[in-house]
Symmetry: C2
C-alpha cells in the first residue's frame, strides 16, 4: 500500500516520473540555464518549450509530474524551476563515474567538457591493457582492471561507463556489478546481461548512423519511384 505523491522532507515526491519525461528534464534544465545566462527571470511554457524543442503541452505535462511550480497567468520563475528540476534529477550533488576502457572513445569521454556542468565527474579510469595502466589521461592516472573493487568502494562510485570493444563488454559489466556499480552506460556494440536492480543504458554509435542511412535510402528510392512513375506515365 504505497502512497502516491507522498511528500518527503526535502519536498520531492515519491511518485515515479515517466521514463519519457525523465529523459527530457535535462533538456529543460539546459534551456533554463541558457535563459538564466541571458538574464531572463521568468518565462512562459511557450518560450521554454520552443527553447527545448518540444510541444508546450508536453512541457507542461512533464513539469506537472514534479509538482506545481508555475503561476497561472504569469509563467515560470526561471531560477526556481531550474532548481526544482535539478533537485528532482539529483543534480544538487555531483555524481562520480568510472570509465572502463581508455581507448579513443574512453579518452574522449574523460576529456568531455559537458560533464562537469551537468553534475557528472569522471573520478577514475580503468583499463585491462598493462601498457595503458599508469599513463595519465585528462589528468587521471589509468588504473588496472583488478583494482576496480577498491576504486568503486573507496570513492563511493555508483555509475560505470563501458568504453571497451564489444567482446569485453559482458565481462566488464560483471566486474562492475561485482564491485558494487548499480548503473551502467554501455558504449560497446554488444548487449550486456545484468542482475535485477542494475540499470543499463546503451549508446550505439553505429546504429545511429545505420538508422540515418536507412532514411537516406528511402529518400533516394522515393525519388527514383517518382521519376519512374513520371517515365511510365
Amino acid at each position: 500500500m504505497t502512497l502516491l505523491r507522498s511528500p518527503r522532507l526535502d519536498g520531492s515526491t515519491s511518485r515515479d516520473i515517466p521514463d519519457a519525461t525523465v529523459a527530457r528534464l535535462p533538456v529543460y534544465l539546459r534551456a533554463l540555464n541558457a535563459l538564466a545566462e541571458q538574464g531572463v527571470m521568468s518565462c512562459a511554457s511557450n518560450e521554454l518549450a520552443e527553447q527545448a524543442g518540444v510541444n508546450p503541452a508536453k512541457l507542461r505535462k512533464d513539469l506537472s509530474y514534479l509538482g506545481s511550480y508555475g503561476t497561472r497567468g504569469v509563467g515560470y520563475d526561471v531560477e526556481y524551476l531550474r532548481y526544482q528540476i535539478a533537485r528532482e534529477m539529483g543534480q544538487t550533488q555531483d555524481w562520480d563515474v568510472v570509465i572502463v576502457g581508455v581507448g579513443n572513445l574512453g579518452s574522449a569521454l574523460s576529456a568531455y567538457q559537458g560533464f562537469s556542468t551537468r553534475g557528472i565527474r569522471v573520478a577514475a579510469l580503468v583499463d585491462a591493457d598493462p601498457q595503458r595502466v599508469g599513463t595519465v589521461v585528462s589528468g587521471i592516472t589509468v588504473s588496472p582492471l583488478d583494482e576496480l573493487d577498491e576504486i568503486v568502494a573507496d570513492r563511493d562510485i555508483s555509475i560505470g561507463v563501458i568504453a571497451t570493444p564489444g567482446t569485453a563488454a559482458q565481462e566488464v559489466a560483471e566486474r562492475l556489478v561485482a564491485a558494487g556499480i548499480t548503473s551502467i552506460l554501455n558504449f560497446a556494440p554488444a548487449l550486456v546481461q545484468v542482475p535485477d536492480g542494475v540499470d543499463v543504458r546503451k549508446v550505439d554509435l553505429s546504429i545511429e548512423l545505420q538508422i540515418l542511412a536507412y532514411h537516406e535510402q528511402r529518400k533516394a528510392s522515393a525519388d527514383k519511384t517518382s521519376t519512374d512513375k513520371a517515365a511510365t506515365a
Copy 2:
C-alpha cells in the same frame, strides 16, 4: 493514392517501417552476424530474440514489416534473413559520412572500428580551427570548413556528423544542409533547427548519465525511506 506494400523490382516494399522497428533492425543484424560466425545456418525467433535481447513476439512483428522471410515450423535461414535486413537497411552499399569537429570526440569517432563492418565509412574530416586543418587523423587529412561544399559534392556524401562544441552546432548544421547533407547525427549538447526533409538524430552523452543519476538517486532515497519506515515502525 499510394499503394501499400507495392512490390518493387528489387523485392523491397514501399510501406514504411515503424521507427521503433527500424531502430532494432541493426540489432537483429548484429545478432545474425554473430550466429553466422558460429556456423549456425538456421534459427527460430526464440533464439534470435534472446540473442538480440527482445521479446520473441516483438521480433516476429518487426520482421513481418519487411516481408515473410521465415518458414513456419522451421524458423529463419540465418544468411537469407541477414541479407534481407541488410538490404532493407541500405547496407548493401557503403555510406560515406563527413565528421565536422576533430576534437577528442571527432577523433575518436574517426578511429571507431565499429563503423566499417556496418557499412559506414568516414570519408572526410572538417574543422574550423586553422591549427587542426592539414593534420592527419586516422589517416585522413583534416579539411577547412570552407571546403565543405566541394567535399560533400565531390564524394556524394549525404550524412554529416556534428562533433563540435554546442555553440557551433547550429551554424555547422546550416552549412551541412547548404552543402547538400540530408541526414545529421548531432553529438553537440544543443538542438539544431533544420529544414523539412533533413533528418537529425541527437546523441547526448551528458543526458544519458543524468538519466542514470536520476535513477541512482531514487534507489538511494528509496533505501532511505524504507529504513525510515523500519525506524518509525
